[in-house]
């Protein structure tokens, strides 16, 4: 594409500026950076157009050349353009230098390996020191502005890469005494000096004569990157930390220069300070910040060097200069400012904070500085706004708020007034306290009066509530202030119920000191005036915030009266919101009646449904569950309407959620007694579980259906008695119980979980026969033994056990069923197998290597189970 015309470029630049991101994703986005660089050399475009293109590159290099190689190429192209300029005066040289610097620094291309850096840095330094660069660099008249610009470029590069100019300190210092623009050189030297000191201190190295080195940088010699690479780890904040307590962080404290270096350093700082009055106020302030923090960390460098400047600076009204003095105050404290100096500085700040000749933003900033003043001996905790000790309430008289002030000024001054009230309260004698507090009360009353005006701008209401909030925050412990405030706010509500949203907001923000009494007063205010007009909407909104279980009957009768006037959907919803608040507060009886009435009476079906739902909830849910059902849903997105959020809350609270169970079930020791087999279940939980219901399902219907087990509450780590689960087998066979759990979490959700199946073993079904009387045992057993045949079956097994192991086996597993025992060799065992089977074992005449087991049963189907059981026993023992 050929060069664009001036108009084309103007349009293109305007489109780009309107939204750079939109332009860059458009069809022309990709070419913009390249076109800009090439058209800078076009002869068809005027210098003015080219300056506007360079301005664009100064602001948006990241969009034009998004990565380091592109930035490097752009800087190279810009430098080429600069070199190719004809030797006549040109408006392009300055912006080209700025643009090349910006491209390198912003694009992250600055460094020893960058060709453009290796060209730009010597060029800038050459210009800065006033070296004759030949006619190519324009006529003599342009040299001075270019020299200043080169200094600015170097300063920016030094800011982005601290230590870059560490090798040029001596050279720069030498220039200070000579002809040259004083301000750019001073600022450049001050920054380079400070950065060098920080880096050297971090490396625990001396200055190594850097301050006195002459012009070590001859033409063509490579740039010294050593210091920049040492300092590369961090950018250097120009005021590393404000509070003197964080001294260690600035890292300067460790630098102890040799006496000779210290002398040179002092001379350099003094030289910079002596000529500082030649700098503009903004530049003077920068110099003071830089040198203040540089000298602060140096042992043996008294800050007294700054003293001659202070009186001159204190007399001015320049924001930057007074701010810089405050920075020196913070850096040096008592070493530079005696108590008298501190008092004078405070007085100057105090008068600047109210001087009629200064603009409001300056007043506000000075007031902030007063309340954050870096005192020599601060009393309170750091970081909190406070009235400085030396600034008594007498001196603050002019800084107190009045209704005539702009809102921001009023709030800032009100804060001061509150702090003074607190201070007076803490003092022994309370002379002025009275008048200050009365003044505060009158001011708040005036603010409320304005907020109560019909048709007034919302800003007046906002201001009134902000002021009230500020007062409560500062003076929460003073009932003398809070009581009239509560009263006044209640009256304000009476006068202007439309401020209900502000009251709700205030109640949300303040602590109980004001919140509790205000809630009560507002509730009384609302329920004592049955409303049917415009205000009803606000009353309902207010009541939804302040209603609770107190004064139920008054609240309910107010609502009953209001219901007749709630004709539109919005009002009905507002009414239901109050009902909801009452539900949540645990109000019962009367509310149920009201809800029933509403469920019939409301015109809007949605309203009726809601009323009915609330009624059902009230009737069926316990208190905590109700609270959860009505509470805000965590799942609801923040922007969803309250109805959606409420519905989601219901849905979450009333639906059963599938969840991994925090419950572990196991079968405890067998208890062979009673008419039916009973499993002892041990339950462990990982988190509190409420209303647990365990449901069981028997596989293949081997047993009669098993009833559910209910546990009201289980907590982790708390021992629980075992759960008893009676089984009614339809056949004497082992089975698996499928287990499901239904429970409520501590957050009120109802959950459902599948637990691992529980195995019921064959032996779990064993029951003993009733014990016959002593002496009849043998006969009893023999009778059973004989009764098994002929319907039943008989079998013989060989258990490979020694006599002692037999005894152990019996006592361990079969003890309850033994009818006749001749320990350790002979046992007669009778087992009842529900529903109506029996199993009889004779273990007799134990041999050394085993026991023959004779068994009979009336249910031949159990034979394989018995075999497996006995083999399992003898293997286990």
């Amino acid at each position: 594409m050929g060069p664009l015309s001036r108009e084309n470029w103007a349009q293109r630049v305007a489109t780009f500026r309107a939204s750079p991101s939109a332009f860059m994703v458009g069809p022309e986005g990709e070419d913009l950076g390249r076109d800009l660089l090439s058209d800078l050399r076009s002869e068809k475009l005027s210098e003015q157009t080219k300056v506007s293109l360079l301005s664009l590159s100064l602001e948006y290099p990241a969009q034009l050349w998004p990565d380091a190689p592109a930035a490097e190429a752009a800087a190279t192209s810009l430098l080429d353009t600069l070199v190719l300029l004809p030797p006549r005066p040109s408006a392009l040289r300055r912006p080209l230098l700025l643009a090349a610097t910006t491209a390198l620094a912003a694009g992250g291309a600055l460094g020893p390996t960058s060709g453009a850096s290796r060209r730009l840095l010597p060029l800038l330094l050459g210009l800065a020191v006033g070296r004759d660069l030949g006619r190519g660099f324009g006529p003599a008249s342009e040299q001075r502005p270019l020299q200043a610009t080169a200094c600015e470029c170097l300063r920016e590069l030094e800011s982005c890469k601290p230590g870059l100019l560490g090798g040029c300190l001596g050279l720069l210092r030498g220039l200070m005494g000579q002809e040259g623009p004083i301000q750019p050189l001073s600022l450049l030297l001050a920054l380079a000096l400070r950065n060098t000191l920080v880096i050297k201190a971090k490396a625990r190295a001396g200055l190594q004569g850097l301050l006195v080195a002459g012009n070590s940088l001859t033409e063509g010699s490579p740039w010294n990157w050593t210091l920049a690479e040492e300092g590369d780890a961090h950018l250097q904040p120009q005021a590393p930390s404000w509070s003197a307590a964080e001294e260690g962080e600035c890292g300067l404290a460790v630098l102890e220069p040799s006496p000779e270096e210290a002398r040179e350093l002092r001379a350099a700082v003094a030289q910079l300070l002596d000529t500082s009055y030649l700098l503009t106020p903004a530049a003077q302030a920068q110099l003071l910040w830089l040198l203040g923090w540089a000298v602060r960390g140096l042992r043996g460098q008294p800050p007294v060097l700054f003293k001659p400047q202070l009186v001159r600076l204190l007399g001015t009204a320049q924001l930057t200069l007074l701010h810089a003095v405050l920075a020196l105050k913070a850096a040096f404290g008592e070493a530079l400012f005696t108590a008298q100096d501190e008092a004078l500085l405070l007085r100057r700040l105090t008068l600047a904070a109210q001087h009629p000749a200064l603009p409001l933003p300056a007043h506000l900033f000075y007031l902030h500085c007063l309340l954050s003043f870096p005192e020599n001996w601060p009393l309170g905790p750091t970081g909190e706004e406070a009235v400085p000790l030396l600034l008594g309430s007498q001196l603050c008289r002019g800084l107190l708020p009045s209704l005539l002030h702009d809102p921001m000024a009023l709030l800032a001054r009100l804060h001061l007034l509150c702090l003074l009230c607190v201070e007076d309260e803490e003092k022994e004698e309370k002379g002025q306290d009275q008048s200050l507090r009365c003044y505060l009360e009158e001011l708040l009353a005036g603010l409320r009066q304005r907020a109560a005006l019909n048709g007034g701008p919302r800003a007046l209401a906002i201001l009134c509530f902000q002021a009230s909030y500020l007062v409560v925050r500062c003076l929460a412990g003073q009932p003398m202030v809070l009581t009239p405030l509560t009263h006044g706010l209640t009256q304000l509500y009476r006068a202007q119920p439309a401020l209900a949203p502000h009251f709700v907001d205030l109640l949300d923000r303040v602590g109980p000191e004001l919140g509790e009494p205000l809630r009560v007063a507002l509730r009384q205010e609302v329920v004592s005036r049955p409303g049917k007009d415009e205000a009803l909407r606000w009353h309902l909104q207010m009541l939804a915030k302040v209603a609770n279980e107190d004064a139920q009957s008054a609240t309910l009768s107010f609502l009953q009266a209001a219901a007749a006037h709630c004709l539109d959907w919005g009002l009905q919803q507002a009414l239901l919101q109050v009902c909801q608040a009452l539900l949540r507060a645990g109000v019962g009886g009367g509310l149920a009646d009201l809800l029933q009435v509403l469920a019939r009476q409301l015109e809007d079906p949605d309203g009726r449904d809601h009323a009915r739902l609330y009624y059902i909830l009230l009737a069926h849910l316990s208190g905590p569950k109700l609270g959860m059902a009505l509470g805000p849903s965590l799942a609801a997105p923040a922007l969803a309407s309250s109805l959606v959020a409420e519905n989601q809350g219901f849905a979450a609270a009333l639906m059963v959620q599938e969840a991994p169970a925090p419950i572990r079930l196991s079968i405890g020791p067998r208890r062979a007694e009673g008419p039916v087999p009973v499993l002892q279940l041990q339950v462990e939980v990982l988190e509190p579980v409420y209303s647990l219901e365990l449901r069981f399902h028997v596989e293949r219907q081997l047993y009669a259906p098993v009833g559910a087990v209910h546990v009201p509450c289980l907590c982790p780590g708390r021992p629980t008695s075992p759960l008893l689960l009676p089984l009614q087998p339809r056949r004497p066979a082992p089975a698996r119980l499928d287990v499901r759990a239904l429970y409520t979490t501590p957050t009120g959700l109802t959950c459902h979980a599948h637990l691992p199946p529980l195995p019921v073993n064959f032996a779990d079904l064993f029951l003993p026969f009733p014990q016959p009387p002593e002496g009849a045992k043998v006969g009893f057993f023999e009778e059973l033994w004989d009764s098994c045949l002929p319907e039943g079956t008989e079998s013989q097994l060989w258990c490979p056990l020694g006599p002692h192991r037999l005894e152990a086996l019996v006592s361990c597993h079969l003890e309850p069923f033994v009818v006749v025992a001749q320990a350790p060799t002979s046992y007669c065992i009778a087992i009842r197998l529900p529903p109506d089977s029996r199993l009889l074992l004779r273990l007799e005449a134990a041999h050394a290597d085993g026991v023959p087991v004779a068994l009979r049963t009336d249910d031949w189907a159990v034979l394989p189970l018995v075999g497996a059981y006995l083999r399992g026993l003898s293997a286990a023992v």
């Binding site: 904040p237 700098l279 106020p281 920068q286 001159r312 913070a330 902030h368």
Partner: protein, 423 residues
């Protein structure tokens, strides 16, 4: 101490966006430092569109602020300085220095050279005062001597070039943009050593010095037993020194007549090289300041090229007389008769008055007296000492203007300041 971006936005209520960005300038090298310094808490400077919206919302300048919006109107959302946090793209851009003046919003974002969470105290951020100074400088440039909108637009169109001079990399070099404009014109003049940065060139021509003292008087008159009436005078001394030489030394003295009321709360121009401690300490904030230093007030200085405000002062007066007519009556009382007419109530929307509620009402007096100061403060031929070649022509002017001169309805409550309460 650098700025990440600067904006000028005209506030246009009633239009869809309620405002237009008139000028903006971003500083990408500073932005790069911000990203490193702020670390995790870094929030990039937004494009002009989102910024405009967020700023107008925060300053309550959108037309849709009729309803309560918690994020802006909550009682805990308190701003006590002109420094804001703007919600842009779900993150909070802080600190944004911004103020509205004459329908124009001035805004900038100072660099904070540390992490933003927790927020450092404002007083520790050097860029804040630098930002204010830059914005005040732009405001002065746009409005000093500006007469109409055309002139404003001309000046707005000069801003990009001027900021390229005065703030090329986001670090403010000179808040006086007029000086930057002048330095372009003086570019060809050779500069001697020790040329102050705040002086663009050297004056050539007839030496002359002009000093003009303007006092404004503010008053609150209540006519009540328990509230004291108050008067306050605010003086501004403007000078223009057309003198040859690069650094001419000048001393200007202000004098008071024998019974003159002392000058207090004196703020001087930075070109004043030294200050007497009596001048520095004389202040109205001490209830009993009986040092009663009554001048002459000497200001040694090296003047800049352009007209400058040498100093501001205040003075407390106890009861003043304003001469009406030719003669003062013997009774030492004067009466001022006036007629108040109430027009028919217009149906158009009246601007809302938040002061005059119920019976609260006031008269505001406007007057101007030439060649007169209430304090008696004056400068004359002998007030100027010039240590330079040639005897300059000296001209002096005085003027008294009323400003916020209120006389309240004594039959109804009136807003008071703490100082006027008779305790």
């Amino acid at each position: 101490m650098a700025q990440r971006a600067v904006w000028l936005i005209s506030h246009e209520p009633g239009t869809p966006l309620c405002g237009t960005v008139r000028f903006s300038r971003r500083y990408p090298t500073v932005e790069k430092r911000a990203r490193v310094f702020n670390g995790e808490s870094y929030v990039p400077v937004p494009e002009d569109g989102p910024l405009l919206k967020a700023l107008l919302f925060e300053l309550r300048l959108l037309d849709d602020d009729k309803d309560f919006a918690e994020s802006r109107d909550s009682c805990s959302h308190i701003n006590k300085t002109s420094i804001y946090g703007l919600l842009v793209g779900g993150k909070e851009l802080w600190p944004v220095v911004a103020f509205l003046k004459n329908g124009m919003i001035y805004a900038c974002v100072p660099l904070v050279e540390q992490t933003l969470s927790p927020r450092p105290p404002l007083i520790s951020i050097s860029g804040i005062s630098q930002g204010f100074e830059l914005l005040f400088g732009i405001q002065d440039f746009l409005y000093l001597g500006q007469k109409n909108d055309t002139e404003l637009y001309t000046k707005l169109s000069q801003l990009p070039d001027l900021l390229l001079q005065a703030c090329p990399f986001g670090t403010l070099l000179d808040a006086n943009l007029q000086n930057s404009l002048d330095s372009n014109n003086f570019a060809s003049v050779t500069h001697p050593q020790k040329q102050p940065a705040w002086k663009a060139g050297i004056y050539k021509g007839k030496p002359q010095v002009s000093i003009s003292i303007t006092e404004k008087v503010k008053s609150m008159q209540y006519g009540k037993q328990d509230i004291a009436d108050t008067w306050q005078v605010v003086g501004a001394v403007t000078c223009k020194c057309d003198l040859e030489g690069s650094m001419p030394n000048v001393t200007i003295s202000l004098s008071l007549p024998t019974n003159g009321s002392p000058l207090q709360d004196i703020l001087v121009h930075p070109c004043v090289t030294s200050l007497d401690s009596a001048i520095l300490t004389s202040s109205s904030i001490d209830a009993m300041d009986d040092s009663a230093f009554s001048g002459p007030y000497k200001f040694p200085l090296t003047p800049p090229l352009e007209s400058f405000n040498l100093c501001y002062y205040t003075s407390q007066l106890i009861g003043i007389f304003v001469f009406l007519g030719q003669k003062f009556p013997k009774s030492m009382e004067i009466s001022l008769s006036g007629t108040v007419t109430f027009g028919a109530k217009s149906h158009e929307k009246q601007p809302f008055d938040q002061i005059c509620i119920g019976g609260t009402a006031y008269l505001k007096l406007h007057f101007r007296i030439l060649d007169y100061t209430l304090t008696g403060c004056y400068a004359d031929q002998h007030s100027v000492q010039v240590f330079a070649s040639g005897k300059p022509k000296i001209s002096t002017y005085r003027k008294l203007i009323s400003s916020d001169y209120y006389i309240w309805n004594s039959k109804a409550p009136a807003p008071v300041t703490y100082g006027s309460l008779v305790l």
